[in-house]
Amino acid sequence: MRKTKITSEQHYINRRKLLKLATTLGIVAGSMAIPRSSLAKLQDELGDDLTDYKSITNYNNFYEFSVDKGGIGDLAKNFKTSPWTIEIGGLVDKPKEYNLASLLKRFNHVNRVYRLRCVEAWSMVIPWGGIKLADLIDDVKPKANAKFVRFETAVKRDQMPGVRGKVIPFPYEEGLRLDEATHDLTLLATNIYSKPLLNQNGAPIRLVVPWKYGFKSIKSIVKIEFTDKMPATTWANRNSKEYGFYANVNPNVDHPRWSQGSERRIGEFFRRKTLMFNGYSKQVSDLYKGMDLNVNI
């Protein structure tokens, strides 16, 4: 029987102890020549290693450029992300047009290491930087009847060669329930590994919702809208039996055509078991209390 690479809590603690010991002895610091403080940053809270930057920036689903995950960086070279404005409207007291720089100045910057699980059954561990969506929402003051948030990706025909394709309609649109959007885990990311997002990763600003399949984490956002009805979303529009509005990572509910029970972590040889809510059950399961997750996919 093969060993799974999921680290149990006890193993994790033991490993930390061992690392601490090693560091104290100066073995790790000495032989690997990395400062002690950066050691802790190389893993997520489950003890999973970060995915390397090269993989994160060379394996992207961004249909505005191509349906091929490999060449997005090249195809997105001419995509202009500065200046960038985000229009915030709908059911809010203070509709606004933010330019990106002022948006970033206004809110606290946070760094978060999250697992990203694609609906295609591969995953990564990514160190994001950005702002909490909750902070922005707080600032624009949604009206009492606002229940959902709708997001839209830029469409620039001259800079996005994939937009001419007919595989999915553009603009790409996504949505969250307001309580999901204001959840502490939900980010508007602008950085990966402390570097500004590259175009293929959704520059200059994108959503990150780590307990949902990757397609929810919409890239290159130009519009955020507050609504009272569940907004239409690109993939659910295409096939609502295969892609739901919630799209929570759930190993017990398969994609109708393939299994969601296991996943390939990019950079690892053996598959690993997919975790409920991508390992964020503790933080988010309360959001879905009383909901049948077999139906509300």
């Binding site: 055509r257 390939r264 598959r271």
Partner: protein, 203 residues
């Protein structure tokens, strides 16, 4: 002379085509051109290689009747057998490298998943013709010619279905292969009808 020349030329071409998927794989590995998900890369490469070669195999007879060059028929064995070998490797990669022989993951990934059954059907339906292509077993083929030929066409059909069912959104290639399938089977049927007419006319 001209005929022998054509035979050789086609044979060399066929052998070259057969090695394209393998060589492109070796090229990608040696130049570091694999994606961050290399197991997916080689799974796709062998799958795409197999369905391409299978489609080519079954296009040879119509091509031969259309052009009047009988040599096309002679390279079917090379193309067809290699399609079979790539399909076999494709399945082996899925079970070993991709799923690490993990029984639980494999069970989840295959049971109730139609694309898996279509893929298995493709391979199984290719098997009789692959075996009977060896001289030792050709007798077996001779007496079951029609049935075995039909299995190969069915195999091509299931290969298309397998591909169509597993792509996420971009169905361009699966549809191209479906069109090739319809075209080759259509031409085959047309040729049969013409043959019958000729027979009727001459009797």
């Amino acid at each position: 002379m001209g005929k022998i020349h054509k035979d050789t030329l086609l044979r060399v071409t066929a052998w070259a085509i057969v090695f394209v998927p393998l060589l492109s794989g070796i090229y990608k590995v040696s130049t570091g051109n694999l994606s961050p998900n290399p197991i997916e890369d080689i799974t796709r490469l062998t799958g795409f290689g197999s369905i391409s070669l299978l489609s080519l195999t079954l296009a040879m007879r119509p091509l031969s009747s259309l052009t009047g060059i009988s040599s096309f028929i002679k390279i079917r064995k090379i193309l067809g057998l290699s399609a079979f070998v790539y399909a076999l490797i494709h399945l082996l990669i899925f079970v070993s490298l991709d799923y690490g022989f993990n029984p639980k993951f494999l069970f989840e990934a295959t049971i109730k998943k139609p694309y898996v059954y279509a893929g298995l059907a493709t391979l199984l339906l290719m098997t009789p013709r692959a075996i009977s292509s060896f001289a030792k077993f050709s007798k077996y083929y001779g007496s079951n010619k029609v049935v075995i030929d039909i299995t190969v066409y069915l195999s091509q059909f299931f290969a298309c279905l397998h591909y169509y069912w597993l792509v996420k959104a971009d169905t361009t290639w699966p549809i191209i292969f479906i069109l090739v399938f319809v075209l080759s089977i259509g031409l085959r049927v047309l040729a049969k009808i013409q043959q019958k007419r000729k027979l009727v006319a001459s009797s």
